[in-house]
């Protein structure tokens, strides 16, 4: 492949006009665990598989869905350690915004600043792009919002989106099931069904994680017991 000569250096374009390292980063994301998000008319839900490498791992110590501000949460597909770094930077930016303007940061601003950080790492020397795609869910004065941020630093607002291993099946499923006037409860059920589609093994409250934000503008991660209740409703 002609491209392979240009695939080692991040800051060099290949003849076809691509930055091959970013393509590789997207591949890393594509082999990560499935995660998805759905925007309902009164809230947003994000969910992910939580498959642990061994049954000996204490699953209560792993939390893939994180809170960035009281009204914005985020989930990822890809490399966990890269996600931790981004979460730390985003929280700091949100807090700096709040300190300066004394108002909670709007979702679009936080997404823009996080995307700017990810873009920086595609145009600097000696660094590699982040191997994660993020799904940012928030509720502010502009209503519920869902954004996907890619390793290149580009971001889009989605009504429903999926990332990771089973992305094409999941997206097809979401396209069929999504309606504009969905409520948050319906969205949670749809999210569970979508995860179930490509799930290997028995789905339960311990191996998936769901985060929701409703009109109360408080992002929270559901407890395993609550997830089990939703699973029982779905069946």
């Amino acid at each position: 492949m002609g491209d392979s000569q240009y695939s080692f250096s991040l800051t060099t374009f290949s003849p076809s006009g691509k930055l091959v390292q970013i393509e590789h980063a997207l591949t890393a994301v594509g082999s990560g665990q499935t995660s998805l998000g759905i925007k309902a008319k009164d809230g947003v839900v994000i969910a992910t598989e939580k498959k642990l490498p061994s049954i000996l791992v204490d699953e209560t110590s792993v939390q893939k869905i994180q809170c960035l501000t009281p009204n914005i949460g985020v989930v990822y597909s890809g490399m966990g350690p890269d996600f931790r770094v981004l979460v730390r930077k985003s929280r700091k930016q949100a807090e700096q915004y709040h300190k300066l303007y004394k108002e909670p940061i709007p979702v679009t601003q936080l997404v823009r600043e996080t995307a700017a950080v990810m873009q920086e790492f595609t145009q600097s020397g000696g660094v590699r792009p982040f191997g994660v795609s993020l799904l940012v869910a928030g509720f502010d004065d502009n209503g519920p919002q869902l954004y996907q941020v890619d390793p290149s630093g580009s971001y889009f607002s989605w009504k429903a989106s999926a990332m990771g291993k089973n992305v094409s099946n999941a997206k097809t499923f979401l396209e069929k099931r999504y309606t504009d006037d969905m409520e948050l409860e319906d969205a949670v059920h749809t999210a569970i069904l979508t995860l179930k589609e490509g799930f290997e093994g028995q789905i339960s409250g311990k191996n998936i994680e769901i985060g929701i934000i409703g009109t109360d503008k408080k992002f929270r991660v559901l407890t395993p017991a609550e997830i089990d209740d939703y699973l029982a409703e779905v069946e």
């Binding site: 809170c67 960035l68 730390r88 929280r91 700091k92 807090e95 700096q96 709040h98 300190k99």
Partner: protein, 273 residues
């Protein structure tokens, strides 16, 4: 572009570049502008269920009261509040900054902030600035280990006490506490004692005045009683207005138009040229 323009001040700490100029101006008789201080009486005490903080609401600029109802009890965390005495800008900036740091710390640890964390962040910052940040604080809160009350001095030293007062009115307030404080006060007794202490500062110290603010913090709950007592109401504004009766009687109303006096000058030469 010369290098001086791009030269930024070193990060952190104050820049003392203008001190020599200020000294020269002072010697020549130019007085430096006075800054807003919170003369202040601030107090805190531990009662049976938690902590009660109290403060007056007067801010002074030299001999002038510049704010009759300012807020001296600052938010640090949902379970921690801090009263500030000294230069108003310093207390607000320092408490704001540490409040932001505590919020980030809460995200990272996933736990409620501890009072000693706030205490350590504040005292490190104040010590780094060697007393130039003139903020004297009374920090109180309830966390997992129980209720805590601390005082922090501008140079960075701290005390842990069951009852504390700071500010220019601290002696007046301390006299009330020393005579009436005891362990295991109930909420109402505690609020009354704090209000009494602040009132003694308000009435006996020139740097304190106006109203009493109180904040009660217990495990899992807080109450911010803004203007709990208003012992200095404005009494001089009359709603009816001030009617001034007319002193001069009207005897006669008659309108006489003034006669117009118009002189017609026989035109001599018309204006020429």
């Amino acid at each position: 572009m010369s290098k001086e323009m791009v030269d930024l001040p070193p990060k952190g700490g104050f820049s003392f570049d203008l001190c020599r100029r200020n000294d020269m101006l002072a010697k020549k008789g130019a007085k430096p502008p006075s800054f807003r201080k919170t003369g202040t009486t601030i107090v805190g005490l531990i009662f049976q269920d938690g902590v009660i903080l109290g403060a007056d609401t007067r801010a002074t600029e030299g001999p002038i009261v510049c704010d009759k109802n300012c807020e001296k009890i600052h938010y640090m965390a949902p379970n921690i509040y801090c009263c500030g005495a000294g230069t108003a800008a310093d207390t607000e900036a320092v408490t704001d900054m540490v409040s932001s740091q505590l919020q980030l710390h809460r995200y990272h640890t996933g736990r409620e902030s501890r009072v000693v964390t706030a205490l350590t962040l504040l005292k490190r910052h104040l010590f780094n600035y060697q007393g130039h940040v003139q903020a004297a604080l009374v920090l109180g809160g309830v966390d997992f280990t129980g209720p805590h009350l601390h005082t922090i001095y501008p140079h960075g030293s701290t005390d842990t006490l069951p009852f504390a007062t700071m500010g220019s009115g601290s002696l007046a307030a301390m006299s009330v506490f020393e005579s009436k404080f005891r362990e295991g006060l109930t909420r109402d007794e505690g609020i009354q004692l704090v209000a009494e202490a602040i009132c003694s500062g308000i009435f006996n110290d020139l740097g304190s005045g106006s109203n009493v603010d109180i904040c009660v913090i217990t495990k899992g709950h807080k109450e911010y009683l803004r203007n709990h007592l208003l012992p200095n109401p404005r009494t001089y504004v009359s709603e009816k207005g001030y009617p001034f009766p007319k002193k001069t009687e009207v005897l006669l109303t008659k309108i006489t138009p003034l006669k117009q006096k118009v002189e017609i000058i026989e035109a001599g030469d018309a204006m020429e040229e």
